[in-house]
């Protein structure tokens, strides 16, 4: 049993999805899906502890040996991400039954859970696999499920958002497919570890350069790096709130993971940063993303859309960490991936509660809402502080390491940019706090009650995680440090 953990991680939700179809009843499907999510959470914790104790876990699918068969490989880099995906999924599913009551018609509830489980299986699969083509397959599984989930949104604009994402996502995935094909043609292998060994022999060919370029652009499309982010704001704004919670906290992080895996492990540090002008490209786009998306976020009335733009800005920080091309930089990136998952999870869950009570999350209708929904807005406040990077929250920890990585490289202006970006996030979070806490309740404020416990409990678990990992940092920092050291192990 224990040696099958890495494949069980993916197989459990994948098999659970069709079983959900047989259950038919919405309540039953919900209970089953939540149970499955918690089961995968237990599996991912077991995997993480095994990786920490004994090093990378490799699994041969169907008993076929590694370079020929598909290998599942879990190491310090992807084990924490597996935990994040299944944890957020479990918590969001806990809240989903209540949250979708008003947002999705009753007869579609079962399909909602099926698509959710498939999306989760896809995201976990991308993360766990050690095979380049398998990445593409799981990417498409999760993407197709995501398009469905977004299209379930109440507003008809959700359909347009879903279509837009489908076109952008398919182009991105096809680019990745081209990259993988060109790599295969040069090396004759699809296994990542094997690719890493064989690519250096042929690295000065046009084909490998083309492969790398296609792969990076394709992945950037998926992780919504500015200026390839255009699909994201609409998709996040019009999808059912609980779907936005799940996607914002996990989907882009998985794409970032794929990018890190290919840049550092498969192509290698040397190729990516010395033969290829990756550093300049990522640095420029990262900084541009932080500024443009933060400024646009300030002018949004729809809060889901505001946080969606903030997500684009946060992806900018994550990419900035990669562009430092240093061990501290990549460690900051990994930390920010996990921490951003926690804060965006908490923030979007708070908005899901607002949408549940009010039907929309328009700032103009939220005057004095904090007196009506004190626990929800307190969660939003703490999540927002974490997003800004106030001490004692997780946001502070990752910004701290980002700034110190910038200073380590001697890049003073970049450190200033990071701090300036945080100031912009102060502006857009403060707008909400001001309206919700300091404006008197006006006539346009609907007469609502506090959100039900089913939403408050998962929300506050995430909020407390934001505070806990902001104070007790040894686990997250330790894991990211080890993963960064692994990635740079070949260099030292």
């Amino acid at each position: 049993m224990i040696e099958h953990l890495s494949v069980l991680q993916v197989i459990i939700p994948l098999i659970a999805a069709p079983i959900c179809l047989l259950l038919r009843k919405s309540q039953l499907a919900w209970a089953f899906a939540t149970l499955v999510a918690f089961l995968t959470l237990a599996v991912s914790f077991a995997l993480l502890s095994q990786v920490v104790q004994t090093g990378p876990v490799s699994y041969e699918l169907g008993g076929w040996e590694a370079p020929w068969g598909i290998e599942y490989r879990v190491d310090m880099l992807n084990a924490p991400l597996l935990v994040l995906i299944s944890a957020i999924s479990s918590l969001a599913l806990m809240a989903s039954r209540t949250s979708i009551e008003n947002e999705i018609p009753e007869n579609r509830h079962t399909f909602f859970y099926i698509a959710w489980l498939l999306c989760m299986a896809g995201l976990l699969g991308i993360t766990a696999t050690g095979d380049a083509f398998n990445v593409f397959v799981f990417l498409e599984i999760s993407s197709l499920a995501t398009y469905t989930l977004i299209a379930l949104g109440k507003d008809r604009r959700a359909l347009w958002a879903s279509f837009q994402y489908l076109v952008a996502g398919t182009i991105g995935a096809t680019f990745i497919l081209i990259g993988i094909g060109l790599m295969y043609v040069m090396t004759g292998t699809l296994n990542m570890a094997d690719l890493a060994q064989r690519l250096p022999e042929v690295e000065n060919t046009k084909t490998v350069f083309t492969a790398f370029a296609f792969l990076i652009v394709g992945v950037c499309m998926k992780l919504a790096l500015f200026p390839l982010h255009l699909w994201l704001p609409n998709a996040y704004a019009f999808a059912p709130s609980i779907v936005t919670t799940f996607l914002a906290a996990t989907a882009t992080k998985v794409a970032v993971y794929v990018m890190i895996r290919f840049i550092f492990d498969v192509f290698g540090f040397e190729f990516s940063f010395t033969h290829f002008p990756l550093q300049e490209v990522l640095l420029t786009l990262g900084i541009a993303g932080i500024f443009v998306a933060s400024v646009v976020a300030i002018y949004q009335d729809n809060l889901k859309r505001m946080l969606a733009y903030s997500s684009v800005a946060q992806v900018g920080y994550i990419i900035l960490g990669i562009s430092f091309a240093s061990q501290t930089g990549i460690m900051a990136t990994l930390l920010h991936m996990l921490n951003h998952g926690l804060m965006k999870g908490a923030l979007f869950l708070a908005l899901a509660a607002v949408v549940y009570r009010m039907g929309v999350a328009q700032l103009s209708q939220m005057h004095g809402i904090a007196s009506r929904m004190p626990f929800t807005m307190a969660a939003f406040l703490i999540g927002g502080l974490s997003l800004i990077g106030v001490p004692l929250t997780v946001g502070f920890i990752s910004k701290w390491y980002l700034v110190s990585a910038a200073l380590e490289n001697g890049w003073w202006p970049v450190a200033a940019v990071i701090l300036l970006g945080s100031l912009l996030s102060v502006v857009y979070i403060w707008r909400v706090i001001e309206v919700a806490y300091f404006k008197p309740v006006s006539e346009s404020t609907p007469d609502v009650k506090e959100a039900p416990a089913a939403l408050l409990i998962p929300m506050w678990i995430l909020v407390l995680a934001n505070l806990y990992f902001g104070i007790e940092t040894s686990l997250t920092v330790g894991v990211s440090e080890m993963a960064a050291a692994d990635l740079f192990g070949g260099l030292r």
Binding site: E140, R156, F163, I171, I178
Partner: protein
């Protein structure tokens, strides 16, 4: 001679650009999906061409067969074709629902209706 030898790859590039152009420039959602399919198909042709060896046959274990094409790329692309069909089907399903709620499948008309509302 080299141009003819790379004939398949020229076709791939031409098809890819045609598909990409349709996706970007077409106003009609169905046409966009057609463009997307052409775009994906070009990559299928690329994979199939990569595995083909001149004079090679299918990889069957029989007497007299020594030269055969690489079956792996062909199998890989079978998977990608299935994914492509699923994407097209889902895309069409979304377009049907867009037509139900907007009464049109033209991009500019959809935007105009959203602005009115």
């Amino acid at each position: 001679m080299e141009f003819l030898g790379l004939f398949n790859y020229w076709v791939v590039i031409v098809l890819m650009m045609i598909g990409f152009y349709i996706v970007i420039c077409s106003n009609n959602l169905i046409k966009k999906l057609i463009g997307l399919t052409i775009f994906q198909t070009s990559v299928f042709i690329m994979y199939i061409s990569m595995g083909k060896i001149t004079g090679g046959t299918a990889p069957v274990l029989a007497d007299g067969i020594t030269l055969y094409s690489n079956p792996l790329t062909h199998v890989l692309i079978l998977t990608a074709i299935v994914v492509g069909i699923a994407t097209t089907a889902l895309g069409l399903a979304i377009v049907v629902r867009i037509h139900e709620s907007y009464g049109t499948v033209e991009e500019d008309e959809i935007h105009a209706k959203d602005k009115q509302a």
